[in-house]
Amino acid sequence: MPRWIPGGPSDEAAMLAEIGLKSADELFRDIPKKVRLGRLGIGAGLEEIDVVRTTDKILDRNRPYSKFSSFLGGRITTPFSPAALDAILSRSEFYTSYTPYQPEASQGMLQTLFEFQSLWVELSGMDAANASLYDGATASGEALLLCHRVHEGHRFLIPASLPWEEKSVLANYAAGLPIRIEEVPYDDRTGRLDLNWIRSAVAAGDVFGALVDLPNGFGHLDEGLPEVKGLLGGAPLVATADPLALSVLEPPGAWGADIVVGEGQGFGMAPSFGGPLLGLFACRQELLRFSPGRIVGATKDREGRRAFTLTLQTREQHIRRSRATSNICTNQSLLALGFVVYASLVGPKGLAEIQGRLAEKARTLASALSTIDGLAAPRFDAPYLSAFTIALRQGSPGAFLDKLRRRKVLGGHSLADPRPGQTAPEARILASVSEATDEKDIRRYATAARAATAALKGAP
């Protein structure tokens, strides 16, 4: 057993005596016999050396993506992490602290969160950002709820091309409201949203908001997005945007978005099997009082010095309870710290350069795959940055990706919803490059894909 619990029997006995109890059992005498337990059936505790051995033995059954030619990506990416980033994230004054309820004791984290909010405001083109939400998908869910709070109606529009996980999360965030989520169809050639469909949907009435994504669920950039706001008849527009892409793309605020959300893990933080992630959230000033999450504001202390504190807390659950704008208590402060440290280490030019290199590699990959019989790569005729969709003419994504894996290539992920009763229009894979991708990886992908498609010829 570890040395994490102080004292021992004599220490315990002395403390018990001081509070007038004979045994530790008396501490629990208010718990009825009827609900008491016997043994749990959990094994004995281990010494640290054995904990490390046991855990490493299990972890060694994982094969990190860095051991493959990996083309995994999408909303969750596989960025390179500068050593200085982990050095800061390992400062235990940060990672062992709690939500900064006492601002005087927590200026370090509060100022960091103020800087984080400032950075997301710059990237998104919004007026104000909060101090983070759980992940990009739940940030979209909170954005839907905010739209409903500020605009009449029962219909919310989302792209049919949105990743299935995000659709499912949105459906859950909407489950408590008397509303319907409707999917905007896309053009089969370009993947672009059908703007005419949006126009008629809004004309039919009752639309309280719409969500668009950048890049979209296919990895592509939709050149029609700047027109969407004009079609909504005043209803708020939510944009889910990739922060790295925003280093080279016009902020969604410039083309009418009222709320900009996103997934921030890709700023230097390892995906860690999908969590913890970082939900980014920003909105226009007039929506702020209805918005979710913690917010840090600048103020001064009694002596007139600059200081920071949590503010607008009257929106929050610990004050407003059932009338709160959200149930957020814990958020992702440590990852917000990572986000702003990464951006500061890399710098604004560096962010754009990373995005530029990824865009070039993605082009190289597309051209290497474009000659392969049995693949459409890219599937859509539309611009893209780091990722694009591949369509398979034969075989399932699972079979194709499995053949690639055997040649040490993680070729991306299937876009199909794996839940029962879901059918996919076509076998599609999202392939993404990363900073680690080199020409050898791309050649290996092409070779493996050529062999896989040949083998799958005639498969259903």
């Binding site: 057993m1 994490w4 619990i5 004292g7 001081e18 501490l27 718990i31 009825p32 337990l37 959990i42 004995a44 505790g45 281990l46 904990v51 490390v52 855990t55 490493d56 299990i58 990190p64 993506y65 999408g74 050095a87 400062r91 235990s92 004054e93 990672y95 006492q102 601002p103 004791a105 927590s106 984290m109 909010q117 405001v121 992940d135 859950n172 965030y173 950048l214 793309l249 902020p251 099997f273 913890p276 992630l277 504001g297 600048a298 001064k300 200081a307 504190t309 607008l312 610990h318 059932s322 709160a324 814990t330 440590l334 990852l335 962010l351 350069e353 530029g356 611009p383 990706l401 009763g421």
Partner: protein
Amino acid sequence: MTFRQARWDEPPIWELNPPAENSEAPTVPGVPEILRRRAPVRWPELTELEVVRHYTRLSQMNFGIDTSAYPLGSCTMKYNPKVSEALARRRTAAELHPDQPVETVQGALEILWRLERALQKITGFPEVSLQPAAGAHGEFAALLMIRAYFRDRGELDRRTEILLPDTAHGTNPASAMMAGFQTKEIASKDGCVDLEHLRAEVSDRTAGFMLTNPNTAGLFESQIVEIAETVHGAGGLLYYDGANLNAILGVTNPGRMGFDVAHLNLHKTFATPHGGGGPGAGVLAAGDRLREYLPVPRVVKRGRKFALDFYRPKSIGKIKSGFGNFGLDLRAFVYILSHGEEGLKAVSRRAVLNSNYLGQKLGAFLPRPFRPLVKHEFLLSGAPLKAHGVRTLDLAKRLLDEGVHAPTIYFPSLVEEALMFEFPETESRRELDQFAAAFQRAVTDTPAHLHAAPTSLSVGRVDEVLAARQLLLSWKDLRERPGNLETLPTVGSPP
């Protein structure tokens, strides 16, 4: 102890090297003209040393468990073991993408599977999901499961109410509202649920009753069996808020107490770090009525292989991307592996002992509102200080000057001027005695000193009212609303 926090007057990062105006945005292949960024991202270009020094200085202006005792009630600020940090940083844990083929993530799935099994035993429920990102997220998901359950039974139109005690964490009513329920508060009697009031309020409109046990007054709800019978008798479900689980490991559990579903906070009981407000990690544990509704995918073991099972027709689906906060789940796994059964029982025994020991000591200075036998936390009322013009807030700020964090204050609201203390098991008797001495110095200090506190931190008492009035929330605000800047001296100017 004389305590002085670092005071660096560290400016916001953009003041270290203000970015040049009017520079050109870089061009990148593939970006269509209509979406191309016109102006570059406005952020400073800095050296690595400048960035490292900036955030190292900021870290020195922050309390953490590693620097200070942190007795926030209901937050369970226990030591975050370093071995967990080391293991979570392994490439075999961090460099895993959630879309990797299951053959390449067998270890991660095994960690999740084994942690789920351990938590089943700890909670007394047959099935556990590790998907929620945090406790409140787990509450929301559980309430969606309750919705789906009553929808399947054709009772959702009628069962629209969630009942909760007036001592409930604020997240409970907020989560219920988000899930589309109305909430109704049940009164407390002597700090516990007023069973008569509960009996009067349950009806065929009741979807569920949300309860934390021990509750936020630190008291065990000894009538839990009767509470469960009352709620179930009306056809409602019983929800367990596991924020306070640290008091009862191995002694009792929500399954045995009659609950139908529970959330736990791995960042409380299972020692994963709070990260300055997050990430947390939530757990959903469900009994037979609700287990089919847990989020997908479920981690399953088929022969000797682990897999992800999406075939759960009744599942509520996904509540976040990925499979939960795996990095935190791994730390919780390490924590349970380290303690084992006896260790976990020792955790609760010592946490409850600490709380009663310190409760008795501090009870000499301020009244304790309810019965003295508490579990993981205890309450004091700062009401008597009001006669001297002193508020609980002043006492909290004065405690900061002793180099310890303040307790949770003004919660629960049924206690006037409440102070809520929780000293988890990792704090030694010496630390408790030192805290008691610090508390005595603080509570017996002069009103003038209490009003002036804190004086030893990087800033003095922060004007929260001004923050809410001027709403300067970003660098953009500071640039564009210069009128407000008059109140904010730049760095280096004398206070």
